[in-house]
């Protein structure tokens, strides 16, 4: 833009300019702070998810990247260009809306071709390109329909086609699968991932579904109360949650408070251990804990059959609640009944120390 900023941008280009670079982003609505202290760099071609409960600020960040909301403070750069104050139509990003936002008065083909029409493309080329984009989402045969004549999954694909027809560098997806039923959602997850890989587009994906975020993303930013609580690969987020909040929001977890940790591990810090890492043996198992292992006696309070396994709820003698997940691998699993006294074992290596949650 200006001469003074062009020099450092050129210098970093060798390293690779992030597709999206967000610094010190902050947004307040009246007295409510929706987003605060958000810094993100998203690389080209990355599948980046923003995960959090509703009201955590993730959608507001997305809307600021798209240009629908102006930040209260901070900067947003796309490919190194500051777009913080640019209008939505000046940014090379396109959004797939949660409610799809298809134009009800246009045919599916005209919906997909809208962005091309706005750019002044001729009718013939417009139709050709729109048709290609529709074919990419396997809806080539429905171009003449109205959006109201399509199912939810089909509308979702039209919304995708409408965005990718413009070949954007970055695609913003605001809970795009939220309105679909489970089977369709799983199918669309696979298709989204394939599409992203084929097109090489950067995806910024907003979701409140931790499983969706884990399975799709290259990296995840976990949001709570307008701030990023942790940013990392799905594996890092799941295996090494930074805080009790992240551990609890991403997957289920057994939180061990300081007192329990002191008893079991000899360290007075908060810890977490995933349910699938707990092993249950019956009460006759009196063998002491192997080195590097933790052993604790407990009572089964509930067992829930999950199909793929059992979820066993336990309470230790000192009242700590634990959840164990047993895969149904054979006859041995799933023998516990409510009220059984059992022994729970887990490896120390599977226990994650949590840093105190900042507030």
């Amino acid at each position: 833009m200006s001469l003074s900023t062009s020099a450092p941008v050129a210098a970093t280009e060798a390293v690779e300019v992030p597709a999206i670079s967000i610094r010190g982003l902050r947004k307040t609505f009246g007295s409510v702070t929706a987003v605060d202290h958000v810094d993100i760099d998203i690389a080209n071609g990355e599948f980046f998810s923003m995960l959090g409960p509703s009201g955590s600020g993730k959608t507001t960040v997305l809307r600021m990247i798209a240009g629908f909301e102006a930040p209260t403070a901070g900067t947003i750069r796309l490919d190194g260009t500051d777009v913080t104050r640019s209008a939505p139509f000046e940014r090379d990003v396109h959004t797939v809306f949660q409610d799809y936002a298809l134009f009800p008065h246009m045919s599916v083909l005209d919906n997909v071709g809208y962005g091309l029409r706005v750019r002044g493309l001729g009718k013939k080329e417009r139709r050709e390109r729109a048709q290609q984009a529709l074919d990419k989402v396997r809806l080539g045969h429905l171009g003449d329909r109205r959006p109201s004549q399509l199912s939810g999954g089909q509308r979702q694909r039209v919304a995708l086609a409408r965005a990718i027809v413009l070949e954007p560098r970055v695609l913003l997806l605001d809970e795009p699968l939220g309105a679909l039923d489970l089977k369709l959602r799983e199918q669309m997850q696979v298709e989204l991932k394939q599409l992203q890989r084929d097109l090489g587009i950067t995806f910024v994906f907003v979701t409140h579904d931790q499983e969706e975020a884990l399975t799709l993303s290259d990296r995840i930013a976990v949001f709570d109360a307008g701030r990023i609580q942790q940013l990392g690969s799905p594996r890092e987020i799941y295996e090494n949650p930074a805080s009790a909040y992240v551990a609890g929001f991403v997957g289920t977890t057994n939180l061990l408070d300081a007192a329990t940790s002191q008893r079991l591990l000899g360290v007075a810090d908060e810890h977490a251990v995933r349910p699938e890492r707990l092993r249950i043996t019956d009460a006759r198992d009196t063998a002491p804990a192997a080195p590097g292992d933790v052993r604790v006696d407990a009572t089964v309070t509930e067992t829930i059959y999950l199909g793929t396994g059992n979820r066993v709820h336990l309470r230790t003698a000192d009242g700590t609640e634990l959840v164990a997940l047993e895969q149904s691998t054979g006859a041995a699993a799933g023998q516990e009944a409510r009220g059984d006294r059992v022994t729970v074992r887990f490896a120390r290596a599977d226990v994650v120390r949590l840093t105190a949650a900042e507030s």
């Binding site: 139509f89 409610d99 134009f103 809208y114 962005g115 706005v118």
Partner: protein, 305 residues
């Protein structure tokens, strides 16, 4: 109601009503089983009213227009004749007045739609919920005031030596201009409200999506907002057009000598004592509206409703 609860009749024998099991309500059961009975009970009164007010009244109008008045005795001659319609076609005055009325109605409609669109857009898409509520009330308030009071207020404003002249805007005097101004004011709420309602149904995300796909505001309005508003605009336009065509009081008060169809009907039904001719003139706006509605239907403008 009396038949529904046996326990009511003998309270001493059934102290507590049963909480479990089916409830005995013979009347409701009858209605549940017989759909036609349910429908006829629901619709008979409104249907009878519609029949009386619309169909019978319109038929009476049509029949009356085919009669004539004996010029000597001033009594209605109930023999079928098309003389009234022949008069309308042959006499240039009627053609002129009909055209003038349609012209005024069209002008009022264009002005009202032009004013209503930005107001409705501001109300539905820009204003905060609080301001929106206040604006809805502000739009509705004039409807609660007496029609006559409003028209006389305009007479005071527009007349020579009135507020318009006094504030150096210049007085249009009594005439068609004054009629158009006063009518535009009076029917404006009827145009704003349907457009506002149509706009409220357009999700914000549609406007954002258009901007996101590269459309600047003006293009968003042209390609997304306006097409979706057509049903609302048509509804509002039908209101202002038909109400203007039928009005004669405003014309009398601020229009001076310039006559519209309503005035001709009024004069013929009253002073001239020619009810059949008045009925025939009244058929003109009805025919115009029918033609207009058919034309609007043909364009397919109402299919996105």
């Amino acid at each position: 109601m009396a038949t529904t609860d046996v326990a009511d009749a003998r309270p001493d024998q059934a102290p507590a009503p049963a909480l479990r099991g089916p409830v005995a309500r013979p009347g409701s059961r009858l209605l549940h089983r017989w759909v036609w009975l349910r429908l006829s009970l629901l619709l008979s009164a409104p249907l009878a009213w519609m029949l009386l007010v619309y169909v019978v009244a319109l038929a009476a109008l049509l029949v009356t227009s085919l009669w004539s008045v004996d010029s000597l005795s001033s009594e209605i001659d109930r023999t079928w004749t098309l003389d009234n319609f022949r008069t309308l076609l042959d006499n240039e005055v009627y053609r002129k007045v009909a055209l003038r009325t349609v012209g005024v109605a069209a002008a009022v409609t264009v002005i009202d739609v032009a004013i209503a669109l930005p107001i409705a857009f501001y109300m539905a898409k820009v204003a905060s919920p609080r301001v929106r509520r206040m604006l809805v009330v502000a739009v509705l308030t004039p409807l609660w005031a007496s029609y006559l009071v409003k028209v006389f207020a305009w007479r005071v404003v527009l007349s020579e030596g009135g507020l318009a002249e006094w504030s150096h805007l210049g007085s249009p005097g009594y005439g068609l201009t004054a009629v158009v101004i006063a009518q535009s004011y009076i029917w404006l709420p009827y145009v704003i409200l349907p457009i506002f309602a149509a706009l409220e149904r357009v999700p914000d995300s549609l406007l954002e999506a258009a901007g996101d796909l590269g459309a600047p505001s003006r293009m968003v309005v042209r390609t997304v907002v306006l097409p979706l508003l057509v049903p609302g605009i048509v509804a509002g336009a039908i209101f202002s057009f038909s109400l203007t065509m039928g009005d004669y009081i405003t014309v009398n008060i601020v229009g001076g000598a310039s006559q519209m169809l309503g005035n001709l009907i009024f004069i013929n039904a009253g002073a001239a004592n020619n009810l059949p001719l008045a009925a025939a003139i009244a058929m003109i706006p009805i025919v115009v509206m029918l033609v207009l509605l058919t034309a609007i239907r043909r364009t397919g403008a109402l299919e996105n409703m």
